[in-house]
């Protein structure tokens, strides 16, 4: 691994932190209204980030082409977010403020996020609630008609706005509707069932993409003045995750192969409250909202191997370990802390359920205190979902939960303006790296997607257009031919191998390695083993994968194979990043670096930075480019939730 001397300019505005965004807004150059229609923007992905960006850019007058692999933008995986969206409105009068939200987020991210970006996120959070309410998003209300709030992991105030357990759905439908309004106005052209296969760069600037129409198989070229990636995270690398089946890393990874820097790939968030896996043919894991931890108490039996029914285990033989270990946050400890604690008690042999990987999330006490009706009103749909999947009634028996891969904090590197190191390539939402550090606080992902799309990118993209000379490129540019050839060649190769293993079998094998060696806990030996093993899987994949059918038709095996190929390379990159980061922070727990009490041990002297990887092709080691993180407003302290 070579560390390059290069310095990355994050373009953070000068001045006090609470004035940086205002200052930047003043500096940003504008495109006049009658010139905006001369510019075109490609937005890949139509979740909360892509959908809000596409709608807003179109409102402003730009010509937008939006792409998604689903049959409709309304189905992007943002729709599955359950719990809520954070905003420091201080409606509860419980002492919330921008400053407090900012500190919670920096601390929650274990001091590995960029201060200026985080401050902007918290500052704009209040506008987001106004925007969504104005769209008709039916947030939960108090009887007096004002908005209700709940609390979430990592915070001691109630700043989470919610719409029952379906907040993501309601927010996504809000921005989907805003998009559809612009489709109707002719300002957005929508390309559903289309996936991006290549990024096209000419003269150092992103000028377009190559796509595959997933119904006809047609490979197409699209040229634009800027490309926005809003393609979400890469958590599906683990095979079993809470991500939708189609979530993939292809678009971001092709950008990486074309020179975009991939930042902190080893930061994956393991969510503490998922339904435990049940068998080897399982296709995905289901998340139970973290908001359940407001009223549910987490426990395991004190005795190792205690297989009694939970009803038979008396109070004094239960270990409410989160309340015991982290008394001031208790069941609301942040996600990485809660996940690791669950793994620890299961590793000790105190896990519950048939597989022994699970802990109880028990509502007995809150049902006794508040009544079943109140609990049902708060979480009813989650309880129903749990019962449907497990065939157990969580009103009567405690839920069983276990951590699972959920959200990825790593992603493509972006500057303060959300532009990658390739001019004209913007990256927003989960696909970028900047706001969550090494761990994401609950209910902040929805916020980041929407803030990026509604309130940041629409300003900063105009500055790019105004500063750079307008592109005179078209799809006739030779770079388009080369990119198209790469995409077609890949499809042809995948179809020609005709081996003996399905794409899914490779994905499961990869996922198991990455979960075991680069999951909730990592160590140098395991990571080295994975870095040796994954290229072997890659080689076997390209020799032995079986893809039926042809490229000129709807071909699900081909889609899967292409995505698995990228996950294999990404998995290796994650392990390299985890090995290089000789410290523990947030979701990245290196077993060699822990306190005597088993807590994560950061090394601020050597690792208070963003690790950016620069590709040298699939067969060569990538280079490292470091962006130091500077903390001027928050003191670097050891996180404590005790």
């Amino acid at each position: 691994m070579k560390v390059l001397e290069e310095t990355l300019d994050a373009r953070i505005p000068d001045g006090p932190i609470d004035q940086k965004w205002t200052r930047r807004q003043g500096e940003l150059k504008l495109v006049s209204p009658n010139n905006k229609r001369k510019y075109s923007v490609i937005v890949v992905g139509t979740g909360l980030a892509g959908g809000s960006a596409a709608a807003t850019l179109a409102e402003l007058g730009y010509n937008v082409r939006a792409f998604c692999y689903q049959d409709s933008p309304r189905r992007a995986h943002s729709i599955a977010a359950q719990g809520g969206i954070n905003a420091c409105k201080n409606y509860q009068n419980d002492g919330d403020s921008i400053q407090r939200f900012f500190i919670d987020t920096i601390k929650g991210g274990d001091f590995r996020s960029r201060e200026a970006n985080v401050y902007r996120l918290t500052e704009l959070s209040t506008n987001i609630i106004d925007q969504c309410v104005a769209q008709g998003v039916p947030f939960a209300r108090e009887y007096g008609g004002t908005l209700d709030n709940r609390s979430f992991g990592g915070a001691q105030v109630s700043r989470t706005f919610y719409a029952r357990g379906q907040t993501g759905q309601q927010l996504l439908l809000g921005c989907y509707q805003a998009m559809m309004r612009q489709v109707n106005a002719g300002k957005i052209k929508m390309y559903p069932r289309t996936e991006m296969l290549e990024l096209v760069i000419a003269n150092g600037r992103a000028i377009g993409i190559i796509t595959r129409d997933m119904v006809t198989g047609k490979i197409e070229k699209h040229c634009a003045d800027a490309v926005v990636l809003a393609t979400g995270g890469y958590g599906n690398v683990f095979y079993l995750s809470t991500n939708a089946k189609g979530c993939n890393v292809t678009a971001a990874f092709r950008a990486y192969q074309q020179g975009a820097y991939f930042a902190n790939p080893c930061y994956t968030q393991i969510h503490p409250t998922c339904i435990p896996p049940h068998g080897e043919h399982q296709s995905k894991l289901t998340l139970m909202s973290e908001s359940l931890r407001n009223d549910g108490r987490v426990w395991v039996p004190i005795k190792v191997g205690d297989k009694r029914h939970p009803d038979q285990i008396p109070e004094n033989e239960r270990d409410y370990y989160l309340e015991r270990l982290y008394p001031s946050y208790g069941n609301l400890a942040p996600r990485d802390i809660s996940s690791r604690a669950a793994k620890k008690v299961c590793d000790e042999g105190r896990g519950v359920g048939p597989s022994g990987v699970g802990v109880y999330l028990d509502f007995r006490d809150s049902i006794k205190r508040l009544g079943q009706k109140t609990i049902a009103a708060k979480y009813g749909n989650l309880f129903d979902m749990y019962q449907r999947i497990t065939d157990e009634d969580p009103y009567k028996v405690p839920m069983r939960i276990y951590p699972a891969s959920h959200y990825t904090m790593g992603g493509l590197w972006v500057d303060y303006n959300l532009m990658s190191n390739i001019p004209g390539l913007f990256v927003i939402g989960e696909a970028n790296f900047s706001d969550h550090g090494a761990n994401r606080l609950g209910a902040s992902a929805l916020l980041q997607g929407l803030v990026d799309g509604y309130f940041v990118l629409p300003y900063t993209i105009g500055d790019y257009f105004a500063r750079f000379k307008k592109l005179d490129a078209s799809v006739d540019h030779p770079e388009f031919d080369q990119a198209e050839a790469r995409a077609k060649d890949r499809v042809r190769t995948l179809l020609s191998i005709d081996g003996k293993r399905t794409p899914d079998s490779f994905h499961r094998e990869l996922g198991k390695i990455v979960w075991d060696k680069c999951g909730m806990a990592r160590n140098a030996d395991g990571l080295r083993e994975a870095i040796a093993r994954i290229p072997e899987i890659r080689q076997e994949f390209w020799e032995n994968v079986k893809v039926t059918g042809s490229g000129e038709e709807l071909n699900i095996a081909l889609e899967q194979a292409g995505r698995v190929a990228d996950f294999i390379e990404l998995g290796e990159l994650m392990c390299r990043d985890a090995l290089a980061r000789e410290e523990s922070c947030g979701g990245h727990f290196r077993e060699e670096h822990q306190t005597d009490e088993g807590e994560a041990l950061r090394d601020d002297e050597h690792f208070c930075h963003v690790s950016n990887w620069k590709s040298n092709g699939p067969d060569a080691e990538p280079d490292l480019v470091i962006e130091p993180l500077v903390f001027e407003n928050v003191e670097l302290v050891t996180r404590s939730y005790k």
């Binding site: 809000s52 933008p73 309410v133 008609g145 509707q177 399905t502 039926t548 709807l554």
Partner: protein, 247 residues
């Protein structure tokens, strides 16, 4: 358990299509219906055959992608999405018939996958509030009664899966359309466009070829989110009101 599957296979919109029989062996009752099909697909790929194409994504019952007619019922025997249907709902040795949504406005793309873009066009005709980003008033400046917010939410939970259309004799999209009309007409934010919205959305719905409601309520019976046909009553009232006042 072991099952006999009769699955609709259709190469493309112009292909006539036919039922093909497959055997599914060692199916675990804890598997979801789609996981059972995943396994069948892996076997098919290894045999060099094309896997069965079906829509799916979140597999948590919320994205609305999945949907097939199972033994004649949209989404199958339980009132849930196909991805949340588990094999424990079936018996060992059973024969299962699996078909795509059948409705003219939902042409078959391939096998069990259909084109539901007509729904997007219905929303595009007016299923929104025309507010531009950045011009929103302070959220608490417009109070909404909790009862209204809850009712609006009940309507807003529609996932757009299309089961209502598939279950309806007339392939009516009134449950889907009315859910959006009812949601927005119950909120203060939706008032300005209230009349125009319902007229435009109904017009688009007709243009797409969806039929009329004949009050069989099959749509409500199969809706995985329990969207009530009372929404249709609301929409009819909204439509009448808008037509009479000459919006």
């Amino acid at each position: 358990m072991n099952l006999t599957l009769h699955i609709w296979r259709q190469k493309g919109p112009s292909d006539p299509g036919r039922m093909v029989t497959y055997q599914a062996k060692d199916v675990s009752p804890d598997q979801s219906f789609l996981e059972m099909l995943d396994r069948l697909n892996e076997d098919l790929i290894l045999r060099g055959e094309d896997p069965v194409v079906f829509d799916h994504d979140c597999r948590e019952g919320i994205c609305g992608s999945c949907g097939m007619v199972i033994n004649g019922v949209a989404h199958g025997p339980e009132q849930t999405t196909t991805c949340q249907l588990h094999m424990r709902s079936f018996k060992d040795g059973e024969s299962i018939y699996i078909e795509p949504w059948r409705a003219d406005p939902f042409p078959v793309i391939r096998d069990l996958m259909v084109d539901r873009s007509a729904f997007d066009r219905v929303i595009s005709a007016g299923g929104y509030v025309s507010i531009n980003t950045g011009s929103a008033p302070e959220a608490n400046s417009i109070p909404v009664r909790k009862e209204d917010a809850d009712l609006a939410f009940d309507s807003a939970t529609c996932i757009g899966c299309g089961a209502c259309v598939a279950a309806c004799k007339n392939a009516s999209a009134m449950l889907f359309t009315s859910a959006k009309v009812a949601q927005l007409s119950r909120l203060p934010q939706g008032q300005v466009e209230r009349k125009r919205r319902v007229l435009n959305m109904v017009e688009q719905m007709d243009k797409e070829g969806f039929g009329n409601c004949s009050n069989y309520q099959e749509c409500e019976a199969v809706c995985p989110k329990g969207i009530s046909t009372q929404n249709i009553t609301v929409m009819n009232r909204e439509y009448l009101r808008a037509s009479l006042s000459g919006a």
